[in-house]
């Protein structure tokens, strides 16, 4: 798996960078301002990719955790660990950009609205996941507990997604849903490019971080810092 990552990660990174570059051009220069929000709608092109990538990150984390509990393959645990670390970055990115978008549109940086709160809970779960991993020294146990935490925390995922449909919120409902796509074509292109770019970038970052965690473990193991037999 590491070899596979080594071989293909560059393609993900490069294509992600190209997609984001195109998306930035469309988003900041070529796309028109919104009829109601004006120029500030351009924040959407960075906020939505951040948010959807972080949700995907959590989804990947859940799947990897389940897979780990099933197969007990340490590299999958490294993958889950890497996804959580990167997920924290994307999740806080979504919260920051959302806050910056909220001030000029809603007139508030933060409010106790179902979407915002459930999303913050997602961030807290991810931080808790990483902390849990830092404090357990036994690798196998660390991986098992963390996987369980991640799977339990996945309950929040549908809540985040549907919060804007289920409850009254200040956050607007889903733009892309069963009702159709409520974004005009010219404004959809930058969003698609940025989202695809972010997904590719995320894949690349997960690849890099998985390698990093794997190598760290390998080095520690070879230096004999791990107690017991190494399960690499």
């Amino acid at each position: 798996m590491i070899r596979w990552i080594r071989k293909y990660e560059g393609w993900f990174g490069a294509s992600g960078a190209i997609c984001i570059a195109i998306g930035l051009y469309f988003g900041l220069v070529a796309s028109p301002p919104d009829s109601y929000q004006g120029e500030v709608v351009r924040i959407m092109y960075v906020h939505v990719p951040f948010a959807s990538t972080s949700m995907t990150a959590y989804g990947v984390l859940t799947v990897a955790s389940l897979w780990y509990l099933w197969k007990r393959d340490p590299i999958i645990d490294n993958l889950a660990h890497a996804t959580a670390g990167i997920g924290v970055f994307f999740t806080s990115g979504a919260l920051f950009t959302g806050s910056i978008w909220g001030k000029p549109t809603w007139n508030t940086w933060w409010t106790w609205d179902a979407r915002l709160v459930s999303f913050t809970i997602l961030l807290l779960i991810l931080i808790g996941y990483l902390m849990l991993r830092t404090f357990i020294e036994d690798k196998e146990r660390e991986a098992r507990y963390a996987a369980i935490l991640a799977i339990v925390g996945a309950v929040d995922l549908p809540i985040v997604h549907f919060s804007v449909e289920w409850w009254r919120t200040l956050h607007q409902p889903l733009s892309i849903s069963q009702r159709g796509v409520a974004i005009a074509g010219v404004m959809l292109y930058p969003l698609i490019f940025m989202s695809v770019g972010f997904y590719l970038l995320f894949t690349y970052m997960v690849g890099v971080r998985t390698q990093m965690l794997y190598l760290q473990q390998l080095l520690e193991a070879k230096k004999g810092r791990l107690l017991g037999e190494v399960h690499l």
């Binding site: 960078a17 930035l24 301002p33 929000q37 500030v40 990115g93 920051f96 910056i100 080095l219």
Partner: protein
């Protein structure tokens, strides 16, 4: 390692170049002026002026169906007249950008278009959130490379052929 630094250096270079071009274009085409600046130097072409519509100043001329209001910024007041498409964004106590020319003879600003406040600061701030992400990626990539080097040099581990080249 060298290739890695060259790649990131190139990325930073491209980023800085884009920022420079963007700033230049912004200053030339997009940046709104204050009423003071508009009064000081009368430019021939249409300019963008930013200000808040004064409370109680907005009225409609029934004869010509023009909208009359005064725009205020830093205590400087400028009368504005607007005629055009439905003034969708016009409201009192609201900061707007009006596009038009200063009519020196009639001492008023003739607006052809009215835009919402652009809030470029917010937009830039939101996009800057991507920088920590890039920094994080840089640190990770660097760490991976250092780890590979360390593993290769430490001779603690004999890689299989083709695994760590």
């Amino acid at each position: 390692m060298k290739g890695f630094y060259i790649r990131w250096g190139g990325l930073i270079f491209v980023g800085l170049w884009i920022v420079a071009v963007g700033t230049q274009r912004y200053n030339r085409d997009v940046r709104p002026l204050t009423p003071e600046q508009v009064l000081k130097d009368h430019s021939d072409g249409p300019v963008r002026m930013l200000g808040m519509v004064e409370a109680g100043s907005l009225r409609k001329d029934p004869a010509t169906s023009q909208m009359l209001f005064s725009l205020m910024e830093n205590g400087q007041r400028i009368p504005v007249v607007y005629q055009g498409n439905d003034p969708d964004n016009l409201r009192e106590i609201k900061t707007l950008v009006v596009v038009g020319v200063w009519d020196d003879a009639a001492k008023r600003f003739v607006a052809q278009d009215i835009h919402l406040i652009p809030n470029y600061g917010f937009i830039i701030a939101a996009y800057l959130v991507m920088i920590p992400l890039a920094l994080f990626l840089f640190m990770m990539e660097r760490r991976v490379r250092l780890l590979y080097n360390e593993i290769k040099q430490s001779k603690l581990y004999e890689p299989e052929v083709g695994e760590f080249e």
